[in-house]
């Protein structure tokens, strides 16, 4: 299976691991991630101002690229996914916005929300299947107590993201179980780490992140996994004393492809 892949800026800089293991694991599962040519930064934040079009055009171009190839568009980074998915939702449901966007899309041809956007986790659940994943696990993570940290961007707003119930998600827990590990259920798994406020008020971010780490540990977690580079940054910056790992890294580990055999 071939899919269009939007890595995003962070995955080419701070979060190279997230990208590398995503590619390797997907290959092991029979999915080729075809990186979109000339992709541009998603903008990092989905502006809620409806008349703000410019920052959303890069997302629309990525969506258009995938839909022209009749491929699903797969993302990994929570922030990119949030921006692209919300943009697609707006293109599908807000005609005034779509019309405005299409005025800038003349050279690329029009776009009206035809593409399907999958987060890497959704790809595993809906395109690969957690059962298939389970069968392909080479190094089971049995006995490991892992806390799934969704953060805030992956699930919300629930209607636009359509991934899982924002208050009672199960997708990442199912993923953890598919890898053979134990999923810890904890309250702060879908709470914010502080996000970009770490730039302006590192103290506030630290307070939030600490609360997240404390709660995960109290629930018995030995490791926190996340899909979001910013979550990982904030949790580690706040002095997390348990490992904070990307979802793709433990996936690669479980699939036995963490060390590149071709290198």
């Amino acid at each position: 299976m071939k899919v269009s892949y939007f890595p995003g800026c962070t995955l080419k800089n701070k979060a190279k691991d997230l990208d590398l293991y995503a590619l390797r694991s997907a290959e092991a599962l029979g999915v080729t991630l075809e990186e979109i040519e000339n992709w541009q930064c998603c903008g990092g934040v989905f502006t809620t101002a409806e008349d703000e079009v410019a920052t959303k055009l890069s997302s629309v171009r990525a969506l258009k690229y995938a839909s022209d190839r009749s491929q699903p568009l797969v993302t990994v980074c929570s922030a990119c996914h949030n921006v692209i998915k919300q943009t697609n939702y707006a293109m599908q449901n807000n005609k005034a916005f779509a019309d405005k966007v299409n005025r800038y899309m003349a050279e690329d041809g029009g776009y009206n929300g035809e593409a399907e956007v999958y987060h890497y986790l959704e790809m595993l659940r809906d395109l690969v299947g957690f059962d298939t994943l389970k069968e392909k696990v080479a190094n089971s993570l049995k006995g490991k107590k892992i806390a799934a940290y969704y953060g805030c961007l992956l699930l919300r707003p629930g209607k636009a993201m359509g991934m899982d119930d924002p208050e009672n998600p199960t997708i990442m827990e199912d993923f953890i179980r598919a890898l053979g590990a134990d999923a810890v259920i904890w309250a702060k798994r879908n709470e914010c780490c502080g996000g970009y406020i770490s730039v302006e008020s590192p103290e506030t971010a630290k307070k939030n992140s600490n609360a997240v780490i404390r709660n995960a540990k109290a629930a018995g977690a030995e490791m926190i996994i996340t899909a979001c580079p910013l979550c990982k940054y904030n949790l580690e910056k706040s002095g997390a004393d348990i490992p904070v790992v990307y979802i793709t890294e433990i996936l690669a580990e479980a699939l036995g492809v963490k060390e590149d055999t071709n290198a």
Binding site: D165, E167, N168, I185, W186, A187, K188, E191, A211, R214, N215, A218, A219
Partner: protein, 664 residues
């Protein structure tokens, strides 16, 4: 040819506001058969009815068309008027120009045009009407009450008090329902058991009442006055008539770790059990999923210790057929599951409980003998947070909660908060609410007392998150009135879960052909004027199966339902609906299409002798309709390929005439 009179009603401004009623009356004057046409402000008023009667006499009318509201509203009224004027009541036709016209149109021109068309259709139909005479059917003078909670108990007692026999079918091993699980009742704070258990004993001792506990209704046939009901008595593996309820078996049963439903799983019971001390009937029941003897054939201790010899491991489910004249549904409610509300950490912490669990915790017969202790560590909680509307008024999240207000939560939460502050003044109590809704006699005073006398901290706003950490529950909430975020370290969080109809209600409604709303609450025949009757004749509604209700309201509705049942059972004969199907034997070829679609089983077949044109005789199979069972739904008339089946009062010819009049 009929002599038809047309009467156009203004319904105040309800119709006249969007329909030019004079123009309608004028236009219909020219229709075939119409000899008189007029309009009036309120046709259903005494003056309006007198006007109809006078016109019948003056113009020798043989048929009447009333252009007014829905026939569901006033068809019966105008039929009575016609009868009083000496006409057959079935010579009246209603053109619904209110619900189907004036209320849905804004423009007077289109409204008037449509009203005229609807009037023409009614005139075309009444021209083909024939006088109909209803048949009569006998009444079985016994009632069935489905559900043995306070609603069912009160209904049964009231019906029995009037001298009629009543059977109660209860699916649990004992009657008593939710009220038996409650601790105190608002607004008077008397103990629920103290006022309920005497009623339960009354039921048990009443000669007119039989209790089928641990039983369910599996089939209902027949119609008002003549229901045939199948009751399944589940095997309880204990002979009910021999068991004395001594409890020796319960004491000796080795399977002691079965979650106790009565205490909502907060403690354990044995495999053979009596739900609670005042259970009625007070007999033991063996849980077949937990009993070693029934599962593996090993044990048999209860049979050994039972001096009465009541244990019977070979007991089978028993099916009983009974006849009833009336059926009362009292299937009650349940709190919704908290599975989808994990933001409150219900699945993560034992110290996040529902309000019904709180009732058991504070009940002297509950798992902690009435001491308010945390389920996790048995410590006394010093800070308690009550969260109201968990799953109620949940518009944005209809897939996990309910859109409606559960109605009882504001009052019971005020009660819980007040009782906690009364018994344990060292406890801080917070109540988070969207609105406090306390209408009802002495209800608002009760809530005010909780705030003013007992110092309960009411905060307008919702709890967003409960995070268990260590032995605390970190509650994050918003205070909307001071626009602040609150963080409270609580020891116990109590969720006022929304209530929903019992799961057994939906299949039961299908059996009874009784209608339900989208939330599975039973629908009443009229929301204001017939609140305790189902639209299905002979089926009555009592308690929370019809909508969320507290105890006083449930008891009043139970009494009202009982009085309706008594009114029905007091009759010796019931007048039927003459608008039933009938088959033209000469055209019927006995194909069974009609019987296959009949939802009431009203159609049978008979072999009949027919004389043929060549003077020979032939025996043919033809359909026969039992007019007492037929409800006049008309499904058979549509299914009949040869056009032999027709509905009196709604004949194919009449319907076609209406269609023609509309399309003309």
């Amino acid at each position: 040819m009929q002599r038809v009179g047309v009467f156009v009603c203004w319904c105040g401004s309800n119709i006249a506001g969007t329909v030019d009623v004079h123009a309608v009356a004028e236009a219909l004057k020219n229709e075939p058969g119409v000899v008189f046409s007029t309009d009036y402000q309120y046709m259903c008023s005494q003056a309006g009815q007198d006007m109809i009667k006078a016109a019948v006499k003056e113009h020798n009318l043989t048929g009447i068309v009333v252009c007014s509201c829905s026939p569901r509203m006033h068809e019966a009224t105008f039929r009575k008027t016609a009868a009083a004027a000496g006409l057959n009541p079935y010579m009246v036709e209603i053109a619904n120009i209110r619900e189907q016209c004036s209320w849905v149109h804004k423009d007077i021109l289109t409204g008037t045009e449509k009203a005229i068309i609807l009037g023409k259709a009614a005139v075309a139909k009444v021209n083909l009407n024939a006088p109909l005479t209803p048949g009569e059917s006998p009444v079985t003078k016994r009632a069935l009450v489905i559900g043995g909670g306070i609603a069912g108990i009160q209904t049964a007692l009231d019906i029995a008090d009037a001298g009629f026999e009543v059977d109660i079918v209860e699916k649990k091993p004992t009657i008593g329902g939710k009220m038996a699980q409650l601790d105190k009742t608002f607004p008077t704070l008397d103990c629920a058991a103290c006022i309920l258990t005497p009623k339960m004993v009354d039921v048990a001792q009443n000669e007119k009442i039989r209790i089928f506990s641990y039983s369910e209704v599996t089939d209902v046939k027949g119609f008002v006055g003549n229901f045939d009901v199948t009751i399944k008595k589940n095997a309880r593996f204990v002979k009910e008539d021999i068991c004395t309820g001594c409890g020796a078996c319960v004491e000796k049963c080795p399977m002691k770790k079965i979650p106790n439903e009565f205490n909502l799983g907060m403690d354990n019971r044995t495999a053979i059990y009596i739900p609670f001390a005042q259970a009625v009937p007070k007999v033991a029941t063996i849980d077949p999923n937990a009993c070693n003897m029934l599962k593996k054939g090993k044990c048999g201790i209860c049979a050994k210790v039972c001096t009465a010899g009541a244990i019977d491991y070979t007991q089978k489910d028993e099916y009983i057929e009974e006849k009833y004249g009336a059926i009362v549904v009292a299937t009650g409610f349940n709190p919704i599951s908290m599975d989808k509300f994990d933001e409150f950490a219900y699945s993560q912490s034992k110290d996040v409980i529902t309000s019904l669990e709180f009732e058991r915790l504070t009940n002297a017969a509950g798992p902690s003998a009435g001491k308010l202790l945390r389920p996790s560590d048995g410590k006394h909680p010093h800070t308690i947070v009550f969260v109201q509307c968990v799953g109620s008024r949940c518009e944005a999240c209809a897939e996990k909660g309910k859109e409606y207000c559960s109605k009882i939560c504001c009052m019971y939460t005020a009660k819980h908060a007040m009782l906690t502050r009364d018994k344990y003044p060292d406890t801080e109590v917070y109540v988070f609410y969207i609105d406090v809704r306390t209408p009802g006699k002495n209800f608002d005073e009760f809530y005010r007392r909780a705030v003013e006398e007992y110092g309960v901290k009411y905060i307008k706003g919702m709890v967003g998150k409960v995070t268990p950490e260590g032995d605390k529950l970190k509650v994050q909430a918003s205070d909307l009135l001071s626009n602040k975020q609150l963080h409270i370290d609580a020891d116990l969080v109590v969720l006022a879960a929304a209530i929903e109809p019992d799961k057994s209600a939906r299949p039961l409604a299908t059996m009874l052909t009784a209608s339900m709303d989208t939330n599975d609450f039973f629908t009443e025949a009229h929301p204001k004027l017939r609140p305790v009757e189902s639209p299905t004749a002979g089926v009555f509604l009592s308690g929370a199966c019809q909508g969320p209700k507290d105890i006083p309201e449930t008891v009043s509705q139970a009494g009202a339902a009982a009085s309706k049942v008594i009114g029905l059972l007091a009759k010796d004969k019931l007048t039927g609906n003459p608008c039933v199907a009938s088959s033209n034997e000469l055209m019927c070829n006995g194909c069974s299409s009609c019987a296959n679609v009949c939802p009431y089983g009203a159609i049978t077949y008979a072999d009949k002798e027919f004389r043929m044109p060549d003077r020979t005789t032939r025996i043919r199979r033809v359909a026969e309709v039992n007019p007492a069972v037929c409800q006049g739904c008309g499904a058979c008339t549509v299914a009949c390929p040869s056009g032999a089946m027709d509905l009196k009062g709604f004949a194919n010819l009449q319907i076609m005439a209406e269609v023609d009049a509309i399309c003309k």
